[in-house]
Homo-oligomer: 270 residues x 2
Amino acid sequence: MIPSQSRPIGVFDSGLGGLTVVKELNRVLPSEDIIYVGDTARVPYGSKSPQTIMRYSRQIAFFLLKKKVKAIVVACNTASALALKSLQSLRIPVMGVIDPGARAAVQTSNSLKIGVIGTTATMGSHAYRRAIQKNKSRAAVWETACPLFVPLVEEGWLHHAITRSVAAEYLRPLLKKKIDTLVLGCTHYPLLKKTIQNVVGPKINLIDSAQATAEYVSRTLLSAGLVNANRRRGKISLFVTDRPRSFSRLASQFLGGKARPAAELSLDNF
Amino acid sequence: MIPSQSRPIGVFDSGLGGLTVVKELNRVLPSEDIIYVGDTARVPYGSKSPQTIMRYSRQIAFFLLKKKVKAIVVACNTASALALKSLQSLRIPVMGVIDPGARAAVQTSNSLKIGVIGTTATMGSHAYRRAIQKNKSRAAVWETACPLFVPLVEEGWLHHAITRSVAAEYLRPLLKKKIDTLVLGCTHYPLLKKTIQNVVGPKINLIDSAQATAEYVSRTLLSAGLVNANRRRGKISLFVTDRPRSFSRLASQFLGGKARPAAELSLDNF
């Protein structure tokens, strides 16, 4: 039997966005092996129903369990908002991106006027509002869905004038509320960080939950005695349900060549 | 056994867009029963691989066969481009939207300089170019993917200034080619017809393949002896793989209350 410490960490997302979390995990815990699943055959999750998001998340979690992971990181805000509780009945630690992001927001905000942006499903769940107010009950939270941000990122229009106009339109109501902190509640959004910062101005802190999540995972593994004590470099293995080649190309740009080419994971495995 | 003529026509799309075809079918063939499947749990198809699009299309076609349809209309340009051939091995007529659209374009165009817009997958298949040049070998065809149009329609920004800017950006290369005809090669795009016409100017003819497809289906059923001769109003039944309630609301606006509420079709049926 493989000792628990040397088992990989499982990470999943609906597509590419969760690689922002993988990158941070690999920085904070460089010895850990990581198995990543991107559900590119059914992306996006953000416009789908809670039932469907739970179903897809459970299927991927069971695949990761078969791969003998020691913990699962739900590196997708939508799945964290809607499926985390149901996955936490598994016998290994299962962590999402929302609690770490909410904690980072509360620590950063002086006025406790906090804006959150994300997909329609994440915003509709109010998971961020609950997580922020669990940490600080008197925090004021405004949530706004930005459904065009993911397609704009996928189109590669990261710094395009149109993206700036879309951001201005979506963020106007939050700016009126005089927020001092804005949570990027979708793993795609860090790629729009410059454009968003430009629109909201330099005084508003942007919270990218990838970093906060990696640190939270590190603390959780430590206290559970699950950290890999080996000094070797961890391996990153990628599985996607569609288009492994184009995914590999983007992932390699994104992770600086640290991952092997993505393998195709047939939906028949689910 | 039910006589073939009185059986329903099966229609499917990745989501809502194919209802443009249902509406036209119901106008041209008011006595026909229609069973529509929208694959809202896996929408969109336009960014996915040919293999995945074929797999999903076959699954839906088999569901429709179990419902004893007499013919299948693939009311999705992406699935028509990539899965039609494989579905045409079934024992009933299977028709797509691309051939009728291509024929209408050739009949309309004087200069035979024809632009086509659609999803990344449809444009990548060059199915329109092939279909147009099969009808008129000397036609010049330029194809451009417009991946943000579907998300803009789903956001409801049909007449928004940002949508106009996006359209101007996508259509600029086609306008430079002096096209006189533009095929709307995605069932969502007719909803942007006014904005697109505004951008390209009044001299360019827009081809919406829904109408051409309905007429083609009518001719095909007639020549196969499959038209329903009853004088009663046909029934429209809707099935979707996710979010039946929000789908029903939109479908009822769209079809003017002619369809019953959508039923949920579990992916377990596939």
